[in-house]
Amino acid sequence: MRVALFVTCVNDTLYPRTGQAVVTLLERLGVEVDFPAAQTCCGQPQYNTGYRHESEPLLRHYAEVFAGYDHIVTPSGSCVAMVRDNYPRLGARARAEGRGGALAEAAASVVPRTYELTEFLVDVLGVTDVGAYYPHTVTYHPTCHGLRMLGLGDRPLALLRQVRGLRLVELAGADECCGFGGTFAVKNAAVSAAMGADKARAIDATGADVVCTVDNSCQTHIGGTLSRRGSAVRPVHLAEILASTEGRVL
C-alpha cells in the first residue's frame, strides 16, 4: 500500500505538529507514509473566493504530485471536500468551455484516491481503536465540510470514544458553523466574529479543556476566538489526540 500524506498548506506552514502526528499515528498502525515534497495547496482558497482559473493549475499540480499513490491521506476535511466536490466541477466547466477533457481526467484520477484521515482509518484500515491515550476532557466540533460535504458522520467520534483516558463531552449546537469560511472570516468579519463568539461560548460551556476538530483552518478561527476571550480551552487536531500514547501525550 503506497500512502502519501497530503499535509495541506495550512498544516505545513502553521501546524506541523498535526502532520507529524499523522505520520506517527499511521506508522504506528503499520502504514508506510511518503511525503511528496512538491505538494503545496489544493486550491480551495482561490476557488471558494471566485478565482476558478487560479485554482486550475493547483488541481493539475495536485494530480501530478500524487500520481502513482494508492491512497492520499490528509488531515483536513475541507481540503478533501475541495478535491472530491470541486475538482470534478473544475473539469466539467473546462470541458463545457471547449478546453478539452485533460482537467476532468486529472480530477477523476485523484478523487477516488483521496481520503480524509478518519475515513482512511475507519474505512480503509478498519480501525477505531488506534491505541491512543489522552488524559483530557475533550469536546468535538464537527467542521462543516467534514460534516456535510464528506459526510464523515460518526467516524471521528468513534475514534475518540476508543481513546483511553479521554472524557468526551457533547458540544451544544455542534453542527453549527464556527464562522471561519476561508476569506469569509475577513470579508464578513462582523458576522464571522459573531458566529465565532457563539461557538466559543458553547465550547466554554462544555467544561472541556480541549476542543477537537479535523480541520486546522477552522481551529485557527476557533482557537483565535477562544484565546482572545481568555478561554483556557485549547484547540487540538484529532490526529494529535490519536497519535498520543501513555508514553507521549502530544
Binding site: P16, V23, F35, A37, G181, K187, V191
Partner: protein
C-alpha cells in the same frame, strides 16, 4: 439600462454592501435575540416533520428533477399554462420586467373602477414593488397576511420569506398594532397585550371589514399546473382564502418558474413544502382554482406571468438551479449568517442563502450590495442540506463569486454579454495570483515559510490593514519554528520525494 426592481424602496446602488449592513445589525441585540429565538424554534420542528417521511430523500430528488425538467422545457409549459388558463375562463398576461407587471396590474385594477385591493402575501409582488406602484396610481393595497400586516403597519421592510416580521418580537408587534392600526382602519382593541392569540385576534378584527368589502384581490401562487391551468396557494391563516374567493376580480402575479407540468406533480411538492416551511404535515389551508367557476369565487381571473430576470438566471448553467426554489425558507432558518445579520442586510425581497444566489442573478452584480451578496456565506452547506429541491446553494454562491471577481459571459436582460471583473478586488486578485504562483513552485513556498519562521518573534498580535479584520476579534496562531516540510526533510530527508 433599466435596473431590475427587486422589492426595496432604495435603489440597490444606494444600499450598503452586505458586510456594512451586517456590521450594524450584528450589534442589534434585540434583533439577534428575536432571530435566534425564532430560527431555533423552527429548526427542530422542521427536522421532526421531515423525519416522519422515510422517503424524504426520494421526494427531494423527485422535486429537483421535476423542476429541472420543467425549466428545461419552460417555453412549452408556459404556452400550456396560457392555453389551459384561457380555456378555463382566465386571462393571461406576460410581463418582461417589474415595470411591465406593475403597469398591467395597475391597469387591471383601474378597469374595475376600484381604488383598494386586498393582497395575499406574495414574494413576486414584493419583488416588483407592486404596492408602491399601486400607491403611485392612487390605489391602496392592504396586506392581509399577519406578518405582512405587521410590516405594512410598521412602515417596515420584510426580512424573511415565510415570516416577514421575524425580526419583531411580540412586544414590538403589540406596540405597532396599538399605534398604527387606527391609521389604516379599525383600531386595536383596548388593553391589547402581547399574547400571540390576542395579537392574532386584533388582526382578525382589523381585516375582516376589508375582506367583506374588497372587490379586487392580488395574489401570487406557489404552483401553477400546466396541464390543467390550476393555481395553488398554500397558507395558514385563511387570509388567502378570503382574498381568493370573496372579491369579484382576482389578479395573480406569478414568476415563470412556478410552473409544474402535471397535476400529479403536486404529490411531490405538497409533501415537500409544508414540512420544510412551517414544519407542519400540512399547512392549515391550501386553495386550488382553475380559471373561474360559476357562482363560486371571483368572476374575473387574471394571471400575470413574470420574468424580471428569471430568464437571465435560466441562461446560467450553474445558477439556473436557483429557479427550482419553492420559497419554503428552510435555508434561512438554518443559516448562521442570516441568523446573525438579519434579513434586511440582504437588501432584497429575497433574504438569506436563497436571496444571496437569487438576487444577484435577477438583478446582476453591478451594485456594491449585489456584488457582495455571493460572499455573505461561510459555505457551511446547512442550506443545501435542508433545501427540499436540493439547490446546491454553496455551488451557486461560488459560481457568482467567480462572476464578480473574474467576470465572463452572462445574460443581462435577455442579452448575452461578457462582463469585466468587478472593481475593488485588485489587491485580492494579485494576492490570489501570487499565492497560486507560490503553490506551483514549492521552493518559493518553502522560502516564504522559512522567512516567516525566522521572523516569528517579530510578528505582532494585531495586524494593520486588511489583516485587522481578522485580529479585531481573534488572536493569530503562532508561526512554528519549523514547517512540516522542513521537519520531514530534516528527519527523513531521503524518503518520499516521488
Amino acid at each position: 439600462m433599466t435596473r431590475i426592481h427587486l422589492g426595496m424602496p432604495a435603489p440597490p446602488g444606494a444600499a450598503p454592501a452586505f458586510p456594512d449592513a451586517a456590521e450594524h445589525s450584528t450589534r442589534d441585540t434585540t434583533l439577534r435575540n428575536n432571530l435566534r429565538h425564532a430560527t431555533h424554534t423552527i429548526r427542530a420542528k422542521r427536522a421532526a416533520a421531515v423525519a416522519e417521511l422515510a422517503d424524504w430523500g426520494e421526494l427531494r430528488a423527485a422535486g429537483a428533477a421535476i423542476k429541472d425538467h420543467t425549466l428545461r422545457h419552460l417555453d412549452h409549459y408556459l404556452e400550456q399554462v396560457e392555453a389551459a388558463v384561457t380555456a378555463a375562463g382566465g386571462q393571461v398576461h406576460w410581463a418582461v420586467d417589474a415595470a411591465e407587471a406593475n403597469a398591467i396590474v395597475t391597469r387591471l385594477v383601474r378597469e374595475t373602477g376600484e381604488r383598494e385591493v386586498v393582497k395575499v402575501k406574495s414574494m413576486a409582488t414584493q419583488e416588483i414593488g407592486l404596492n408602491e406602484a399601486l400607491a403611485a396610481a392612487g390605489i391602496t393595497a392592504y396586506e392581509t397576511d399577519l406578518a405582512e400586516l405587521i410590516v405594512q403597519l410598521g412602515q417596515d421592510l420584510p426580512s424573511h420569506i415565510l415570516v416577514p416580521a421575524i425580526h419583531r418580537n411580540r412586544a414590538e408587534i403589540r406596540d405597532i398594532f396599538r399605534t398604527q392600526m387606527s391609521r389604516w382602519g379599525r383600531p386595536a382593541p383596548a388593553g391589547l397585550t402581547d399574547e400571540p392569540a390576542e395579537l392574532a385576534e386584533a388582526a382578525r378584527l382589523h381585516l375582516r371589514e376589508k375582506f367583506l368589502s374588497a372587490k379586487v384581490a392580488v395574489s401570487g401562487a406557489n404552483f401553477v399546473v400546466a396541464e390543467t391551468g390550476t393555481l395553488v396557494v398554500v397558507e395558514s391563516e385563511g387570509n388567502g382564502r378570503m382574498c381568493l374567493t370573496l372579491p369579484e376580480t382576482l389578479i395573480s402575479v406569478v414568476g415563470i418558474e412556478k410552473v409544474i407540468p402535471s397535476w400529479r406533480d403536486l404529490e411531490v411538492f405538497l409533501q415537500l413544502l409544508p414540512r420544510s416551511s412551517t414544519a407542519e404535515r400540512m399547512n392549515p389551508y391550501t386553495s386550488m382554482w382553475t380559471g373561474v367557476t360559476d357562482d363560486d369565487g371571483p368572476a374575473a381571473f387574471h394571471l400575470v406571468l413574470l420574468d424580471n430576470g428569471r430568464t437571465d438566471a435560466l441562461a446560467d448553467q450553474v445558477g439556473r438551479q436557483a429557479l427550482r426554489c419553492i420559497r419554503c425558507s428552510a435555508c434561512l432558518n438554518v443559516c448562521p449568517v442570516y441568523e446573525r445579520a438579519g434579513g434586511h442586510a440582504y437588501g432584497s425581497a429575497y433574504p438569506g442563502p436563497i436571496g444571496a444566489i437569487l438576487t444577484p442573478q435577477l438583478r446582476g452584480t453591478v451594485s456594491a450590495l449585489d456584488a457582495s451578496l455571493p460572499y455573505a456565506s461561510s459555505l457551511c452547506g446547512a442550506c443545501y442540506e435542508v433545501c427540499p429541491v436540493a439547490i446546491d446553494i454553496p455551488e451557486v454562491l461560488v459560481r457568482l463569486r467567480e462572476r464578480v471577481v473574474e467576470g465572463g459571459p452572462v445574460t443581462v436582460r435577455g442579452t448575452r454579454a461578457v462582463i469585466r471583473p468587478a472593481r475593488g478586488h485588485a489587491a485580492e486578485r494579485a494576492a490570489m495570483r501570487a499565492a497560486r504562483w507560490a503553490f506551483e513552485h514549492p521552493r518559493a513556498l518553502r522560502a516564504g515559510q522559512r522567512l516567516a519562521s525566522r521572523t516569528r518573534a517579530l510578528h505582532p498580535r494585531r495586524l494593520p490593514g486588511p489583516g485587522r479584520a481578522w485580529t479585531r476579534s481573534r488572536d493569530l496562531p503562532e508561526v512554528p519554528a519549523e514547517s512540516f516540510r522542513d521537519w520531514w526533510q530534516r528527519t527523513r530527508g531521503d524518503r518520499g520525494t516521488a
